[in-house]
């Protein structure tokens, strides 16, 4: 087994710190829910105008009921996401407090300074992805706002995100699994595979949530169904793009965590000495992908969205 370093002293504050952050997130989200439309929206009108122009909707719509509907949707999404994330982080904190109380070494593995990275970040990832999927289900459109219309095709994730992006993430997981198996075979150290399993689980869960986001009922409804559909697709592609980025950042985090764990093992000469470099390469590749997607304006090459920076598909 790889020996993990124990940081004592301030490390005992890991649980209480997470509890505090979790409660702050819940309070922040609850405040956003209560304040409703008075809560400042992400991006504001200018950002929405730019997005509407890309989606071939008059930017002037940003100041109308349609713009308010989109802002309200984003607000409800952020509020629900914050509350759910807060709950997960609070639960993680409570679990660490209980484990510390029982004398388990897990809560003191890392010093308080890096708590957010090693315990808080995974909790945030779980909370954010659960929060997004819950938020898109909770958001309800007003049925009396306009005509009743629907797509004539089944909505799929491929409409909003190119399937190749799934396989690019799977490739990184496969590489890390191969590294984990190599360590298991040559050093009898199977703990590295736990990180690969978490990576695979992250991909599976976020993929499911992105599929769910593609399928939820239409929420933006206005007098002009064509405009409403474009705005609905805009919102939907935004949610999917955020989930995709969250997945890549989480995988990148896992790669660097794996690199850190591999660094603790005494790597013998031979093929295993390249494991750390491979993992590092994988982490940079995921960072590059994540950053690249951020520049695509939430258009990830789907059948409907096309790629950011390119004209919208006809």
């Amino acid at each position: 087994m790889i020996a993990l370093p124990l940081g004592l002293g301030s490390a005992l504050w890991n649980g209480p710190l997470l509890l505090l952050f979790g409660m702050l997130e819940i309070a922040w989200g609850a405040l956003a829910m209560v304040a409703g439309v008075r809560w400042p929206a992400f991006g504001g009108d200018r950002s929405l105008r730019n997005k509407l122009a890309v989606w071939r909707v008059s930017p002037e719509e940003a100041g109308t009921d349609l713009g308010r509907q989109i802002h309200a949707y984003y607000r409800s999404l952020s509020a629900v996401m914050l509350v759910v994330t807060g709950f997960v982080v609070t639960l993680a904190g409570a679990a660490l407090v209980m484990l510390a109380d029982a004398g388990h070494p897990l809560p003191v593995w890392y010093a308080a300074g890096v708590t957010i990275v090693f315990y808080g970040y995974p909790a945030n990832v779980v909370g954010t992805s659960l929060g997004y999927s819950l938020a898109v289900r909770l958001a309800r459109r007003s049925d009396d706002a306009g005509p009743r219309y629907a797509d004539m095709r089944r909505r799929r994730l491929a409409d909003y995100r190119a399937p190749v992006l799934r396989w690019l993430a799977v490739a990184a997981v496969a590489l890390q699994t191969a590294v984990g198996i190599a360590f298991g075979v040559f050093l009898s150290t199977w703990s590295v595979l736990v990180i690969s399993a978490v990576m695979a689980l992250t991909v599976a869960v976020v993929e499911l949530q992105m599929s769910a986001a593609a399928r939820v009922p239409r929420m933006v409804v206005t007098a002009d169904p064509v405009v409403a559909r474009r705005c609905d697709d805009l919102v939907r592609s935004g949610v999917i793009a955020r989930l995709q980025q969250l997945m890549l950042v989480s995988l990148m985090f896992a790669c660097f965590l794996q690199m850190w764990v591999l660094g603790l093992a005494r790597t013998p000469d031979g093929p295993l000495r390249y494991a750390g470099a491979l993992t590092q390469l994988s982490g940079y590749y995921l960072a590059f992908l994540g950053l690249g997607l951020a520049g695509l304006d939430e258009r990830l090459g789907g059948r409907i969205t096309g790629w950011g920076g390119r004209p919208m598909p006809e």
Partner: protein
């Protein structure tokens, strides 16, 4: 982005299930929905349109009975492989109905065949080969 939409008119006398079936049939006959294209799930369509799932079930059952769609437990409802002649016949039937309606309106307004033809050519100019 410019794909056709299925729009329900609450003011129309035809029941929603008929409106859904008619619009889908037109799109299939017109070739906008090719063979094998996956139609929305019953849940997706019902929620988008704000109708009961049974309404969509009735529409799909009618289309399946007429051979326009095929339903399977694994793939859901998809456009059937309809022969070109059947699609052509459906297009002709729809156009004949629409023209009959147009002619009836023109007669009520006292518009002659020449004016009707002129308006038709204005709205639908002959394409250049």
């Amino acid at each position: 982005v410019s794909e056709p939409l299925l729009v329900l008119d609450p003011g129309e006398s035809r029941p929603p299930s008929e409106q859904i079936a008619d619009q889908l049939r037109l799109q299939i006959a017109g070739g906008h929905l090719p063979a094998g294209a996956a139609l929305p799930s019953i849940r997706q369509l019902a929620r988008d349109l704000g109708v009961a799932p049974n309404t969509v079930v009735r529409a799909y059952a009618e289309l399946e009975r007429q051979g326009w769609v095929v339903a399977s437990a694994r793939r859901g409802v998809a456009v059937a492989n309809v022969s070109a002649s059947a699609r052509g016949a459906e297009r002709r039937r729809e156009i004949a109905q629409a023209v009959a309606h147009l002619v009836a309106t023109a007669k009520r307004l006292g518009v002659g065949a020449a004016d009707l033809r002129a308006e038709l050519e204005r709205q639908m100019p002959p394409s250049r080969a």
